[in-house]
């Protein structure tokens, strides 16, 4: 029975996927309508999945609080913040003043501070890179990065007009021509890989939904 069911789920995935996929190429109205319908349902399901996810998130932290596990106080704070924001958002809409207040004074500072941490992490990683992975490509990577940074940053020494122009032009050349070539190759490769992955899922040889 399970075998049949799993085949049924694979068929559902394939059918839904086929119409959505065809919709990219075939402009027939029926196909387009079906595609839009499936996409609409998928967006709805993603929204519903978020509710499931939030319930799970709360339950995981609730359990921590209930069992007074290590760090339960953080979990309690998380639940409190979640409930307050969610409640306000549900009742007063996502554009209410309190939501904006919480966003501006909690979310935004944390996110930008994480970006600031990222700056330090990137510099640390760059510093360690040659010691850690000593090959030609690492050197090319770092040399390029360094050159581009020199070409981007304010010029510390005034009076080197021509030199500055050359450096900035070279920087533009590297980042607009050399990097564009590599980026396109990577993009094409990634697209090949993504297509293969998508097709495997569509064909049902990979069934992440179980069954």
């Amino acid at each position: 029975m399970r075998v049949r069911l799993s085949a049924l789920w694979a068929a559902v995935a394939l059918a839904a996927g086929l119409f959505v996929l065809l919709g990219y190429f075939v402009q027939l109205k029926a196909v387009q309508d079906l595609r839009l319908t499936f996409l609409h349902w998928a967006v709805l399901l993603a929204g519903a999945a978020l509710i499931v996810g939030l319930v799970n998130l709360v339950s995981v932290h609730w359990r921590k609080v209930g069992l007074l596990e290590e760090g339960w106080i953080y979990s309690a704070v998380l639940i409190l913040a979640l409930v307050i924001t969610l409640g306000l958002g549900l009742f007063f809409g996502p554009d209410n003043a309190v939501a904006l207040f919480i966003f501006s004074n909690f979310q935004l500072p944390v996110e930008t501070s994480l970006m600031a941490l990222l700056a330090v992490s990137l510099v640390v990683a760059g510093f360690r890179l040659v010691s850690r992975r000593r090959d030609l490509y690492t050197l090319i990577f770092l040399a390029t990065a360094l050159f581009v940074m020199v070409g981007t940053a304010p010029w510390p020494l005034p009076g080197l007009g021509t030199f500055e122009v050359v450096v900035r032009d070279l920087r533009a050349w590297i980042s607009q021509v050399w990097a564009a070539g590599g980026a396109r190759g990577i993009l094409l490769g990634v697209a090949l890989g993504a297509t293969a992955t998508g097709l495997r899922v569509l064909l049902g040889t990979e069934r992440p939904y179980g069954g």
């Binding site: 839009l36 996409l39 998928a42 967006v43 993603a46 929204g47 996502p94 554009d95 939501a99 904006l100 966003f103 501006s104 979310q107 935004l108 996110e111 930008t112 994480l114 970006m115 700056a119 330090v120 510099v123 640390v124 760059g126 510093f127 360690r128 890179l129 040659v130 010691s131 850690r132 992975r133 000593r134 090959d135 030609l136 050197l139 770092l142 040399a143 990065a145 360094l146 940074m149 020199v150 981007t152 940053a153 304010p154 010029w155 510390p156 005034p158 500055e164 122009v165 900035r168 533009a172 980042s175 607009q176 990097a179 564009a180 980026a183 396109r184 993009l187 040889t205 990979e206």
Partner: protein
């Protein structure tokens, strides 16, 4: 065997060739002793002609193997294995596919090497000086050393530098080139040189144990019941050897799967192959492989016992796989009848082949030679790599790293805070402006003022520190021109970002919410939704965001506001500006939405790193992006054109010192790494 393949380039060669026709690599191992002596010389005759006599120049281990197979195999079907003999045969036997007879053999042999300390082991040999085979190995080593003039390590480095090795100047911290691209290995002998002779003898055995999880170790190790003779006809198979199911790792049910090994939940494999992921499977080879060097290490130290050390025994994961090493009394042990150990009692044996159910060899036969070669080469590679693995295991604590972090963070924070707090140093604003800036400025300047501009705030709040500064001047220019503005986003928090920016800039230019500016809000569904929006904007977003209260009360949606009243398609906007940090988002708008824009220009305001991905769309013969504004320098130039000092200019000085500090740190890192490398080289 009709041909042999070159271990270096894998191309076929005539069987009698000694050197590869194509690349000149040596095909047969050097054998200073010429033909092997003694005990293992009549495999052909014992096989009754089923197998061709082993040519004298073949490896000594090959002969042993031939003999053992001849003895153990009731119906030796050597012809069914076309690949046999194309490689040094000792490696052949360590076939990774988990073919049980070979696995057994391998286990047996390895135990023999390991188990000198055991009763009835190789002690006799130890006492009476190095055995013949060991002497031959040494002789060969010396011969090789004279030949190449290199140390033992160098055969490996030679391999690394061989086919396909990328020109890496130094290979210290990279994991070594994986074995698959190595040439097939040279004879066993040189390996012993990898280990310095003064090394404790227990080490390789222990290392091999440590190198893999015990459940894997188990699988490799249990095939070595002591006290069994190698020749199956001398002892019935009903003794101690555990019965091994027809696949490589017999007891690890969890790995093989409920429905039997052949049934892969996610797909099929050729028949007869174990459905254990190869990467795990290959790992199981390491134990035996690593044990080999111990055998030839020298005569004055003791070989490690075959039993596991107690600390290892106590380790996870499961006790059910504990090896049952049953040691028989000396009298019960059979006398070795063949091979270099002939005449000794209690020699650890290869698994009696007759006791082992054989899998059909059809599947593995059909595997191309390459598959084996690579597996075998990988085996070799792993033997060497094991040295590094031990190092890795002890590398866990890295206090030095924390120091680097603190130092870097300190320098960076200091450099950034200096101009923020003290106002100096000051850098002049960039005198040069990017080529594309002028045309962008003109583009905005000539937009029709009666149609609204769409601003897409597609970035996470984390980027607001950068993108607010970069995009501000452009938004101000739009406002200066009095063009109505609509905003939207495909990220949940994007609307709040739009609100913040518009709330800050709008009042400066008397933009009234609902009249000159309106927020469409969040468009759920990511890239797909962008398509839907491009196709039918009014159906994709139904409500607005933060509409004035009177409009909400009147039931007016964003689409009914004066800003958007005339808009039914993307092409009805005067401009679409996407402010984003993500290259994917930018590409989606350029590739998917641009098709529906008609003559409406698409402008990208980008985080600095996204530029190389978007620029091709801008420079294409039919541009899909009509303007690019990226990075702080361009933003300052834009502000200058606008004749104002905005966020970008305010951040310029601190940005300058932060960048200089980063450049300095990166350069120091490169120098530090190179010095380290140079010093390591000098030491070597």
């Amino acid at each position: 065997m009709s041909e042999q393949r070159c271990p270096m380039c894998s191309r076929p060669n005539p069987p009698e060739a000694h050197e590869c026709w194509h690349c000149g690599a040596r095909l047969t191992p050097l054998d200073p002793g010429g033909s092997a002596s003694g005990s293992a010389s009549q495999p052909g005759s014992r096989l009754g002609g089923e197998r061709q006599p082993v040519p004298p120049e073949q490896d000594w281990l090959d002969r042993i193997r031939a003999e053992s197979e001849a003895a153990g195999e009731p119906e030796p079907d050597f012809t069914a294995e076309p690949v046999t003999g194309e490689l040094p045969s000792w490696l052949e036997e360590m076939k990774p596919e988990g073919s049980p007879p070979e696995a057994g053999e391998e286990g047996g042999r390895v135990s023999a090497f390991k188990a000198a300390g055991e009763p009835g082991g190789m002690e006799a040999a130890d006492e009476s000086g190095p055995p013949e085979w060991l002497r031959r190995i040494r002789a060969r080593e010396e011969e090789r050393a004279q030949d190449t003039g290199e140390s033992g390590q160098d055969w490996l480095s030679g391999l690394r530098g061989s086919p396909g090795a990328e020109p890496e100047p130094e290979d210290v911290s990279y994991p070594p080139r994986p074995g698959r691209d190595m040439a097939a290995p040279r004879p066993a002998a040189p390996e012993s040189r990898d280990l310095p002779p003064e090394r404790p003898r227990e080490r390789p055995a222990a290392a091999s144990q440590e190198a893999m999880p015990s459940w894997l170790r188990q699988a490799g190790g249990q095939d070595a019941p002591p006290g069994q003779d190698r020749a199956a006809e001398q002892l019935p198979p009903s003794g101690s050897p555990p019965t091994t199911p027809p696949f490589g790792l017999p007891h690890v049910q969890a790995l093989i799967g409920e429905g039997g090994a052949g049934e892969a939940p996610l797909g099929g494999k050729p028949e007869g192959e174990v459905d254990l992921p190869d990467w795990m499977d290959a790992a199981s080879l390491e134990g035996p492989a690593e044990a080999l060097p111990a055998a030839s290490e020298g005569e004055d130290s003791r070989l490690a016992p075959a039993t596991l050390p107690s600390w290892l025994e106590a380790m996870r994961p499961v006790e059910t796989f504990r090896p049952v090493v049953q040691i028989q009394t000396e009298d019960d042990q059979a006398v070795e009848s063949a091979g270099p150990l002939a005449g000794l009692r209690g020699v650890l044996i290869a698994e009696p082949l007759v006791a082992m159910p054989r899998t059909a060899t059809v599947g593995s036969m059909q595997l191309a030679v390459s598959e084996r070669q690579y597996a075998q080469a990988e085996l070799l590679h792993r033997m060497v790599e094991d040295e590094e693995r031990e190092v890795q295991a002890s590398r866990r604590a890295r206090p030095q790293l924390n120091f680097i972090r603190w130092a870097v963070a300190g320098v960076l924070l200091f450099a950034t805070a200096l101009p923020v707090l003290s106002g100096s140093p000051r850098f002049s604003l960039p005198s040069l402006e990017p080529r594309e800036l002028g045309s962008l400025f003109t583009l905005i300047d000539t937009l029709p003022a009666e149609r609204p501009a769409l601003l897409v705030f597609d970035y996470e709040p984390g980027y607001s520190g950068e993108l607010d500064a970069v995009g501000e001047a452009l938004i101000e220019q739009i406002m200066v021109r009095g063009i109505p503005i609509a905003t939207m986003t495909t990220r949940p928090t994007g609307s709040l970002l739009a609100m913040r920016v518009i709330d800050r800039l709008g009042p400066r230019h008397d933009y009234v919410p609902g009249e000159e500016v309106v927020h469409l809000g969040y468009l759920s569904g990511g890239a797909t939704a962008v398509q839907l929006f491009s196709l039918r904007p009014r159906e994709a977003i139904l409500q607005g965001f933060d509409l004035p209260e009177d409009m909400q009360e009147a039931g007016i949606t964003a689409w009914d506001t004066p800003v958007l009243r005339g808009v039914t398609a993307l092409s009805d906007f005067s401009l679409v500006t996407v402010i984003t940090a993500g290259t994917e988002t930018a590409r989606v708008w350029a590739e998917q939405a641009k098709n529906y824009m008609g003559q409406t220009p698409l402008v990208m305001v980008l985080s600095a790193g996204a530029e190389p991905m978007v620029r091709p769309y801008y420079e294409a013969r039919e541009p899909r992006v009509n303007g690019i504004l990226t990075g702080l320098p361009a933003a300052t130039a834009y502000e200058r054109r606008m004749g104002q000092e905005g966020l970008a200019a305010q951040r310029w000085n601190a940005f300058g010192t932060a960048m200089l500090a980063s450049e300095f740190i990166l350069a120091a890192g490169i120098a530090y790494g190179l010095v380290q490398w140079w010093m390591a080289r000098q030491e070597r």
